[in-house]
């Protein structure tokens, strides 16, 4: 998945989780949880939603490191 595709995917999924979040305004290195005021359940919901989209589970250890859009882009680069 290219970085552009990842950004689009994350933005679409976040629109369900945090409808008022302005993902377009995010810098690539912004911590999503801080920038969008997500709680731990929102964060978990994002991991679950991305897992469903890419068709494979994201291990808990990896999920904990996925904090910014950059992290997601790097993690999904080979999907």
């Amino acid at each position: 998945m290219t970085a552009g595709e990842t950004r689009t995917l994350i933005a679409r999924l976040l629109a369900d989780i945090a409808p008022d979040a302005d993902v377009a305004a995010l810098a690539p290195a912004d911590d999503l949880q801080e920038a969008l005021d997500l709680d731990s359940m929102d964060r978990m919901a994002l991991v679950v939603a991305v897992s469903e989209q890419i068709g494979r589970d994201i291990p808990d250890r990896e999920a904990g490191r996925l904090r910014a859009l950059d992290d997601w882009c790097a993690y999904l680069a080979e999907d």
Binding site: P19, D20, E34, S40, M41, M44, V48, D57, D60
Partner: protein
């Protein structure tokens, strides 16, 4: 004949609006069936029927707001004759002189439908009504606006609650919720002599347990720390009944069950604290499942009446990015509130050594009329014990 009344869905509620009936006159209902959706200032709540029988009359139409305790429906008991259903009395249209509307032809249009029609520019005269007694409902107006066909008026089955997209609370709801919170919290601080306790608890074993369990599970089945915190409070509340119950009519009444209120904040502002029923009987996995469901319904869907009224003790958890501790305000008429701050590593002295451990500051706000600090301290100890035995 049983009268169904507008329930008080929380100590702060004085009136409610029936936004949707899920039954119609002639329908057979049983105790516990969800029969209507009521809009309080805080949320849309599904309310249940407390009698077995047949719906005789829907006294209040969709969109009507009535005070708590007002009759909203009549249920004929088993074996009682069912009088042919009448349509709900239409409220007088606010701006229309009575003579302007032909009496015979006048159909009931719910105020909500009227407003939506005005917003959408729909002519109500051309909208077929599918509500009780042929009333025109919001759905009818929206359907007309969308150009869709009306469903058959005689719906046999209650419509399923629609899954709705999560939304930010509308400004009107936010204002109303602020007002409701203001009333409730002011009353608590005015009437309840709070005492406060706090303990810093070692969360190391609990975290290790979570890491271990979550490493072996796919994302949808993973546990958050909240599951263990809720379990710890539910079990502690069962062990210490003097903190689990309500202060009513000048005395404390211990509850027979532990219905654990969980404060859930809304993205648009405000907080709702519905209950997980019989939480002391649930495992961490079950609590996680209920919590996920509850939060989703608080934020995007609907709550059940009992969830809003039956909490016996409440937990507030500040989450991963919140403050270190919270001195909470008790949800009257409950008598205790347990708070958890952010889980973070702190220096931890044990066996003459200092190390870094994940810790959480647990607080208890207790109603001093119902219990004393000693009892409260024992409850926090019980919470700690549970966290040290997470499995």
């Amino acid at each position: 004949m049983a009268e169904m009344t507008m329930p008080a869905l929380g100590a702060d509620m004085t009136q409610g609006k029936v936004t949707q009936w899920l039954v119609k006159p002639g329908d057979r209902v049983r105790h516990g069936d969800v029969v209507a959706v009521v809009d309080t200032d805080k949320a849309e709540i599904e309310i249940e029927c407390f009698a077995d029988g047949v719906v005789q009359e829907l006294v209040v139409g969709e969109g009507e707001r009535v005070p708590v305790g007002a009759t909203i429906a009549r249920i004929a008991g088993e074996g009682e004759p069912v009088v042919p259903p009448r349509t709900p009395a239409p409220p007088p249209p606010p701006s229309l002189p009575a003579a302007a509307a032909p009496r015979v032809e006048r159909r009931h249009v719910t105020p909500l439908a009227r407003r939506v029609a005005a917003d959408l520019g729909v002519d109500l005269a051309g909208v077929p009504g599918t509500g009780p007694g042929g009333a025109v409902t919001r759905e009818d107006v929206e359907r007309a606006a969308a150009g869709g066909p009306a469903p058959k008026p005689e719906r046999k089955r209650a419509p399923k609650p629609r899954a709705r997209a999560p939304h930010r609370a509308a400004p009107a709801r936010t204002d109303a919720m602020r007002e409701a919170i203001a009333q409730l919290m002011a009353r608590s601080k005015r009437e309840v002599p709070h005492y406060y306790l706090e303990s810093t608890l070692d969360f190391g074993r609990a975290q290790a347990f979570l890491d271990d369990v979550n490493a072996q599970r796919p994302a949808p089945q993973r546990l958050l720390p909240a599951a263990l915190l809720l379990r710890a409070v539910a079990q502690a509340a069962r062990e210490h009944p003097q903190l689990n119950g309500h202060w009513l009519d000048g005395r404390f009444r211990a509850a027979e069950h532990v219905h654990l209120g969980v404060a859930v904040s809304l993205r648009g502002g405000g907080v709702v604290a519905p209950a997980i029923l019989d939480a002391d009987r649930l495992s961490a996995d079950e609590l996680m499942e209920r919590l996920t469901d509850l939060v989703a319904r608080v934020r995007s869907g609907r709550l059940r009446g009992r969830e809003m009224t039956d909490a016996t003790i409440t937990v507030t958890q500040l989450g991963e990015r919140g403050a270190d501790l919270v001195h909470g305000v008790i949800y009257v008429p409950q008598v205790a509130l347990v708070g958890f701050g952010r889980i973070r590593e702190r220096p931890w002295a044990q066996d003459g050594m200092v190390g870094a451990r994940p810790t959480v500051v647990a607080t208890l706000a207790g109603d001093h009329r119902a219990s004393d600090g000693h009892a409260g301290g024992l409850l926090l100890e019980a919470v700690d014990r549970s966290l040290q035995e997470p499995a």
